[in-house]
């Protein structure tokens, strides 16, 4: 392992990626710290069972770090990571289908605040989550990258190897179908 280079907290991702390429484990750990929660949100939004989110996050980072040579800065590291997360989740779904294990999505989180409001919010989120599962994968990922992660169409297009116009169309198709589900 190479000796970690001294870095400031504000070191850009590119610097950490370059450090990881030389074997700096601390750089890898810092990248995990920066992007793990966003990745967990994306995976959970895309249908990962809560109980598996941690494992899927780890698997995504492992894949990303092992194939980091393929990251050429075509988009931000986080966006690239999220697309890898989408692939990891797809593989997980295939394995789960083979094992015929039903995901247990109905895990109850901490209930704080007004129970009624909480229940309503839960219900709407559940409807949205269910609606997302009915979308084609590309529409689902574009929707999450745009609405949940707040990315621009150009960024989404670069990550998914499509055009900004096509990404926009996918987003609008997704919104139209989700509106019918979440009324």
């Amino acid at each position: 392992m190479a000796n970690p280079l001294p870095r400031t907290d504000a070191a850009p991702d590119a610097e950490l990626i370059a450090a990881w390429r030389t074997g700096d484990e601390q750089a890898a750990a810092e990248l995990v710290g920066r992007h793990a929660r966003a990745l967990a949100r994306f995976l959970a939004g895309a249908g990962a069972p809560d109980s598996d989110v941690d494992d899927l996050v780890q698997e995504t980072f492992i894949r990303a770090f092992r194939s980091v040579d393929r990251f050429r800065g075509q988009c931000r590291f986080r966006t690239w990571l999220l697309t890898i997360g989408g692939n990891v989740l797809k593989d997980f779904g295939r394995r789960a289908a083979r094992r015929k294990v039903l995901p247990l999505d109905e895990t109850v989180g901490d209930v704080t605040g007004d129970p009624h409001e909480h229940a309503e919010a839960r219900e709407a989120e559940a409807m949205l989550a269910a609606g997302l599962q009915q979308l084609p994968r590309l529409q689902r990922e574009v929707f999450l990258l745009r609405a949940q992660q707040g990315l621009e169409y150009e960024e989404i297009a670069a990550a998914l190897a499509t055009t900004p116009g096509a990404a926009r169309v996918h987003y609008h198709h997704a919104v139209r179908r989700l509106k019918e589900i979440v009324k």
């Binding site: 890898a28 929660r37 959970a44 770090f65 509106k179």
Partner: protein, 135 residues
């Protein structure tokens, strides 16, 4: 409605993200990367093996093609003996056929209908008989 959807989308997965122990996750990721570096090396080795195999196939194929091309250039073109018959006289043709007659069964020779003796054939018929011997 779009705003409501986007607000919902922003909240989606928040609980799962909040439950994630980021430090522990980072530690586990680093440990797994440390424990399984062989896979990366194995992948590199596999990649080199594939490249080497592809090179062997390409070079082997190129050599085989080259040999075929050179071989076909160096080989003599098909030559029919019958093409040389035009210069022979009737007697010379008859001598050739007599020699052939001793070597080859007469069953396989297309002797013109009605003829039983080579001496009765004219030059054109003798050439035809020789050509038929060539197959």
């Amino acid at each position: 409605m779009n705003d409501r959807l986007e607000n919902l989308a922003k909240r989606l997965g928040t609980d799962a993200a909040n439950r994630l122990d980021v430090e522990a996750t980072a530690r586990k990721v680093v440990e797994r990367l440390r424990e399984q570096p062989v896979r990366r090396i194995a992948w590199v080795q596999q990649a080199w093996l594939r490249i080497a195999a592809a090179l062997v196939i390409m070079v082997g194929g190129a050599v085989a093609i080259r040999q075929n091309v050179v071989g076909s250039r160096g080989a003599h073109p098909a030559h029919l003996v019958a093409d040389d018959l035009t210069d022979l006289s009737t007697d010379e043709l008859r001598d050739v056929l007599t020699t052939f007659d001793e070597l080859i069964s007469t069953d396989s020779v297309a002797v013109p209908e009605g003829s039983t003796d080579l001496h009765e054939l004219d030059a054109q018929q003798l050439r035809a008989v020789l050509r038929s011997l060539e197959g």
